[in-house]
């Protein structure tokens, strides 16, 4: 049987980096998550992306949760509906980091408003 090797595409990593840079200049949480969901829908193997401010209890088996949180803040979760696991898998760790960075950006904004 042929071995399927997941492929990590550099342009996709470039997209994640660019999104991080732009997110920091978006005006509010709504704008940030609208932008993020639309952008992450371009990831290989992804069908669609939704944001939920609360933890969704019942989700489809094709959906992977990515909490957006830091030690000091919980900002909901991204729910990524995956249609091709092989294509998607190489980006999982990068996505965890990406979500953490969104959390850090939101932490910093929250501190500025205190």
């Amino acid at each position: 049987m042929k071995n399927i090797t997941p492929e990590l595409r550099p342009e996709v990593l470039g997209q994640l980096l660019l999104m991080q840079a732009i997110i920091s200049s978006l005006p509010d949480k709504t704008s940030i998550f609208d932008f993020t969901c639309r952008g992450l829908a371009n990831l290989p193997g992804v069908e669609q992306v939704n944001y939920s401010i609360n933890k969704e209890e019942a989700i489809a088996t094709s959906i992977v949760r990515f909490p957006v949180q830091t030690r000091s803040g919980n900002y909901g979760e991204l729910l990524i509906d995956v249609s091709d696991t092989v294509a998607f898998m190489p980006y999982v760790e990068y996505l965890k980091n990406f979500c953490f960075i969104i959390g850090v950006i939101l932490d910093e904004r929250a501190k500025k408003h205190i």
């Binding site: 996709v12 660019l18 840079a21 732009i22 200049s25 978006l26 005006p27 998550f33 609208d34 932008f35």
Partner: protein, 209 residues
Amino acid sequence: MTPNNSTISLGFTEQQFPAGVHVCQIISDDNERQESLLKFLLAGLQAGERTCCFSEQVNESILKEFLGNYGISFNNVIDSGAFILSGSRNIYLHENRFDPNRMLAMIKRYHEESEAQGFSNSRVIGEMLSEVQNVPGGNRLLEYEAKITLLLEKHPVTAVCQYDARQFDGATIMDILKVHPWMVVRGSVVHNPFHIPPAKYLSTIKAED
């Protein structure tokens, strides 16, 4: 006139570019918007390029003072045709509709006239209005931007499109990125990894005629 193959300055970055780049600037701060806009205009006029500005954020008096600080007479550059200033509402919302074909024809004509008048290059900066989305033709905004990229291959007007992230929703900002080959990130212009080549993008949409 022979085409000018040298590189140009956008003014707000040290980088040099070939004429005809199509750049998206996502704005979230009024000072940043005005500073970029003024530097872009100044760099064009100082380089002898024909320069055009569609914005509601600057007016004659701001430009008179700013350009005067650099020894450029606002009246002279207007009178000579080197500089064109218009409110973006007059341009993008002409007759209360957004007409991409009219805009594309205008940019083409601007380039042809600039060449005929002997300008080394030509440039335009435009502040896109969120109201465009709510008028007839507004659903063709992304098609328009993709067609601008195609047009600039033949008519290399250097173009910077300013979009205010406070006025456009986040999903639209992402869509806008997809139709600009270059974008400004923290003052630097970078290749946009989200960009979809215009021919490919246009083949995926059904344009209204």
